[in-house]
C-alpha cells in the first residue's frame, strides 16, 4: 500500500503534468507556474550540488586540511572568485566593476584555448582524415576484391559524401569580385542549390531526432498520469 508521501508526490506530479499539457490551449498562468516551479527546484538543487562538490570539496576542505603550498595555490582561485563578485554586488559594481575583468579574461582565454585546441585535434583533423579515407584507392581495391556489392555501396557512399561536403560548402559561398555584379555565377548557383537540398535533408533529420527525443517524455507523463488516475479510482473504490 502506498504511504501518504507517495500519494502526495504522485498528485503533485499529476498536477504539474496537467499544467504543462495545458500549453495545447495556449500560454497560460498554470503553465508558467509549473515552469517556474521546475526551474526553481532545479536551480536550488544545482546550487547545493555546486556548493558541496566544488566550493566545499575543492576549496574549503583542501584549504583547511592542506599543506602550506596547497593553500597558497588555492589563493589564486579564491582571489579570482572574490574579484568576480564585484560584478554582481550592486553597491560595488558601480565603482569596482573593473575588478572582475581579470577573472573574466582568464575564463574566456582558457575556455577559448581549450575549445579551439579540442576542435582542431578532436574534430577537424580526424573528420578531414575520415573524409579523405572514404576515397582511398587502396581501400576501394580491397573492397572490390571482397564483394562487388560492397564496392558499389562504398563508391555510392563516397560520391554522396563528396557531393554533400562540396555542395554544402558552396551553398555558403557569396563572394564576388570588385566591379562585378554581386551575383554568383550560374554553375555555382546550381551547385549551391544542390547543397541547399543537403542542408534541408540534414535539418529534416535533426527535426526528426528532436521529435523522437520528445515522444518518450510525453509517453512517460501520460503513463504517470494514467497510473495516478488508476490509483485514485482504487482509493475511491476502497
Amino acid at each position: 500500500m502506498m504511504d501518504m508521501t507517495e500519494i502526495m508526490a504522485a498528485a503533485l506530479g499529476f498536477l504539474i503534468t496537467c499544467a504543462i499539457f495545458s500549453y495545447i490551449l495556449g500560454d497560460n498562468p498554470l503553465l508558467r507556474l509549473a515552469l517556474h516551479v521546475l526551474a526553481g527546484a532545479a536551480a536550488g538543487y544545482t546550487a547545493l550540488v555546486v556548493f558541496n562538490t566544488t566550493i566545499k570539496a575543492q576549496i574549503y576542505e583542501p584549504y583547511m586540511h592542506g599543506s602550506t603550498e596547497e593553500r597558497l595555490l588555492l589563493g589564486v582561485p579564491i582571489i579570482l572568485g572574490v574579484l568576480l563578485l564585484a560584478k554582481l554586488v550592486p553597491p560595488l559594481s558601480s565603482r569596482l566593476i573593473w575588478a572582475g575583468n581579470p577573472t573574466l579574461a582568464f575564463l574566456s582565454g582558457v575556455g577559448a584555448a581549450v575549445a579551439v585546441g579540442g576542435a582542431v585535434t578532436g574534430t577537424i583533423l580526424p573528420q578531414v582524415w575520415a573524409s579523405v579515407n572514404v576515397l582511398d584507392p587502396q581501400a576501394v581495391m580491397e573492397t572490390a576484391r571482397s564483394s562487388p556489392w560492397s564496392l558499389v555501396e562504398m563508391v555510392g557512399n563516397a560520391v554522396i559524401i563528396l557531393l554533400g561536403t562540396l555542395t554544402t560548402l558552396i551553398a555558403f559561398h557569396f563572394g564576388a569580385r570588385s566591379g562585378q555584379t554581386p551575383q554568383r555565377p550560374g554553375w555555382i548557383n546550381t551547385l549551391a542549390q544542390i547543397g541547399q537540398g543537403f542542408i534541408a535533408i540534414t535539418l529534416g533529420v535533426l527535426f526528426a531526432g528532436v521529435l523522437l527525443a520528445a515522444l518518450p517524455a510525453m509517453i512517460e507523463r501520460c503513463q504517470s498520469a494514467l497510473e495516478f488516475i488508476y490509483m485514485l479510482l482504487g482509493l475511491v473504490i476502497r
Binding site: T53, G111, G122, L206, G209, A213
Partner: protein
C-alpha cells in the same frame, strides 16, 4: 434627334471620346454599363450610343452624390485569424497524440517485438560490454538533464543491465549537476541486490575545461567522492580503484548524453587520451545524428541512439522492462507523427499550387518590401 448608332462608324475625335470635348474623363468602352433606358435629349447633338451611355452614367453619379445615399451594404466577409487556426491545430494534434499514446499504454501487451536488423555499432557495443569481467572498472558519465530521463533511462538501463551482469564496477560522474541524481535514481530502479555497488565521483564542473582536467589528472580532479571521502586511498570501499591512475586505465568509458555539444566535448577532450580503451556513447535521438560522423571516423567504438537504438540493443530473450513500457506508445506516437507530417505536407502543397493564393502571397510580399 440622335442618329442610329449602327450607322455611326466614322473615326472623328468626337466619336472616340466618352464625353465629346472632355478627353480622358471616362473610359471609352462604356458598354459594360448596360442601360435599356434611352431618354430624349433636349438639344440635337450628333453622338453615338456609347457616348450617350457615358452621359447617363455621369448623370447618375452626380445624382447619387447629391442624394448622399450610402453604398449598398455588403455581406460581412469571413475573417481569417491565423492565431486561432494555429491554436486549433495545436489542440487537435495534442489531443490526438495524447489519446493514441494513452490507448496504447492501456492496451499494450508489453511483449518484445522483433528487431529486423541490428546495426553494426550496436553489435560492437554489445561485444564490448559483454566482454567485461568482475575485475573491470567502467567509467560512466551521466550527462543528461531530468527532462530527458524518459528517453535516456531505458537506454541507460539497457547498457547497465550488461555491466551489472558481468559484475564490473561502474564509476559514475557527470558534467551536469543533476547527473549524479539521475544515476542514483536509475540504480534504485534496476540494480539487483547482488550487483556491485557503483562508485559515485560526483559532479565535474567547468565543461570542456573540466573534461581536459579529467584527462590530465583524474585523481586531482576528483579528490573526494559524493560522500566526501577520498576514493583513491588503499583503505577505501573500493580498493580496485587503486589501479586507476588515468582515464585510459578504465576497461571502457561510456557517455550517456542528450546533448550533441556535450558529447562533442567528450570526443574532443577525452577521446585522444584513451589509447585503446573502448569509447561508447549512448545518446538521445536528437544528438545521435550529429555524432554519427565520429563513429564513421573510428573515434568511437560503439554507439546506441535513442529508444530505437535501445530496442535494437536489447536481447528478445531478456527484454528490458523499462524499455517495453515505452516502446508500444513510442511506436504508435511515431506513426501518428508521420501521418501528421505527410498530411500537413500534402495540404501545404495543394494550397501552394492554388493560383489565387500564389497571387495573394506575392502581393503580401510586395507590400512588405520597402
Amino acid at each position: 434627334m440622335m442618329d442610329n448608332p449602327q450607322d455611326q462608324q466614322d473615326d472623328t475625335p468626337q466619336k472616340k471620346e466618352a464625353v465629346p470635348g472632355l478627353e480622358d474623363v471616362l473610359p471609352l468602352n462604356a458598354a459594360m454599363f448596360e442601360s435599356d433606358e434611352i431618354l430624349p435629349v433636349p438639344f440635337s447633338v450628333d453622338i453615338s450610343e456609347p457616348q450617350y451611355k457615358h452621359i447617363r452614367l455621369l448623370e447618375r453619379m452626380l445624382a447619387q452624390e447629391n442624394e448622399g445615399t450610402p453604398p449598398p451594404a455588403q455581406p460581412p466577409k469571413a475573417e481569417y485569424h491565423p492565431d486561432s487556426f494555429q491554436r486549433f491545430l495545436r489542440l487537435a494534434i495534442g489531443v490526438i497524440l495524447i489519446l493514441t499514446i494513452s490507448i496504447n499504454i492501456l492496451y499494450s501487451n508489453r511483449s518484445p517485438s522483433a528487431v529486423l536488423a541490428v546495426p553494426g555499432e550496436i553489435t560492437q557495443t554489445r561485444m564490448i560490454l559483454r566482454g567485461l569481467s568482475s575485475e573491470s572498472m567502467v567509467l560512466v558519465a551521466f550527462d543528461y538533464e531530468p527532462g530527458f530521463s524518459a528517453e535516456m533511462e531505458p537506454l541507460a538501463a539497457a547498457v547497465f543491465q550488461d555491466i551489472l551482469t558481468t559484475q564490473a564496477v561502474p564509476v559514475i560522474l557527470s558534467t551536469s549537476p543533476l547527473g549524479t541524481l539521475q544515476a542514483a535514481r536509475l540504480m534504485q530502479k534496476i540494480q539487483p541486490p547482488t550487483a556491485r555497488q557503483p562508485i559515485y565521483l560526483g559532479y565535474l564542473p567547468g565543461g570542456a575545461a573540466g573534461l581536459m582536467s579529467l584527462t590530465n589528472s583524474l585523481r586531482n580532479t576528483f579528490p573526494l567522492d559524493v560522500d566526501g571521502e577520498s576514493p583513491w586511498l588503499p583503505d577505501s570501499a573500493n580498493p580496485k580503484l587503486q589501479a586507476i591512475n588515468s582515464i585510459a586505465d578504465f576497461a571502457a568509458v561510456i557517455v550517456l548524453s542528450a546533448d550533441a555539444e556535450n558529447a562533442r566535448n567528450w570526443l574532443e577532450q577525452v577521446q585522444p587520451a584513451l589509447n585503446k580503451t573502448p569509447f561508447i556513447f549512448a545518446l538521445s535521438a536528437q544528438a545521435a545524428p550529429l555524432i554519427r560522423p565520429y563513429l564513421s571516423g573510428n573515434q568511437l567504438q560503439g554507439m546506441i541512439g535513442g529508444v530505437i537504438g535501445a530496442h535494437a540493443y536489447q536481447e528478445p530473450k531478456q527484454p528490458n522492462a523499462m524499455l517495453q513500457m515505452t516502446w508500444d506508445g513510442f511506436a504508435a506516437g511515431v506513426w501518428v507523427a508521420v501521418a501528421f507530417i505527410v498530411c500537413g505536407s500534402g495540404i501545404s502543397l495543394v494550397l501552394l499550387s492554388d493560383p489565387a493564393r500564389k497571387k495573394r502571397r506575392k502581393q503580401r510580399q510586395k507590400r512588405r518590401l520597402p
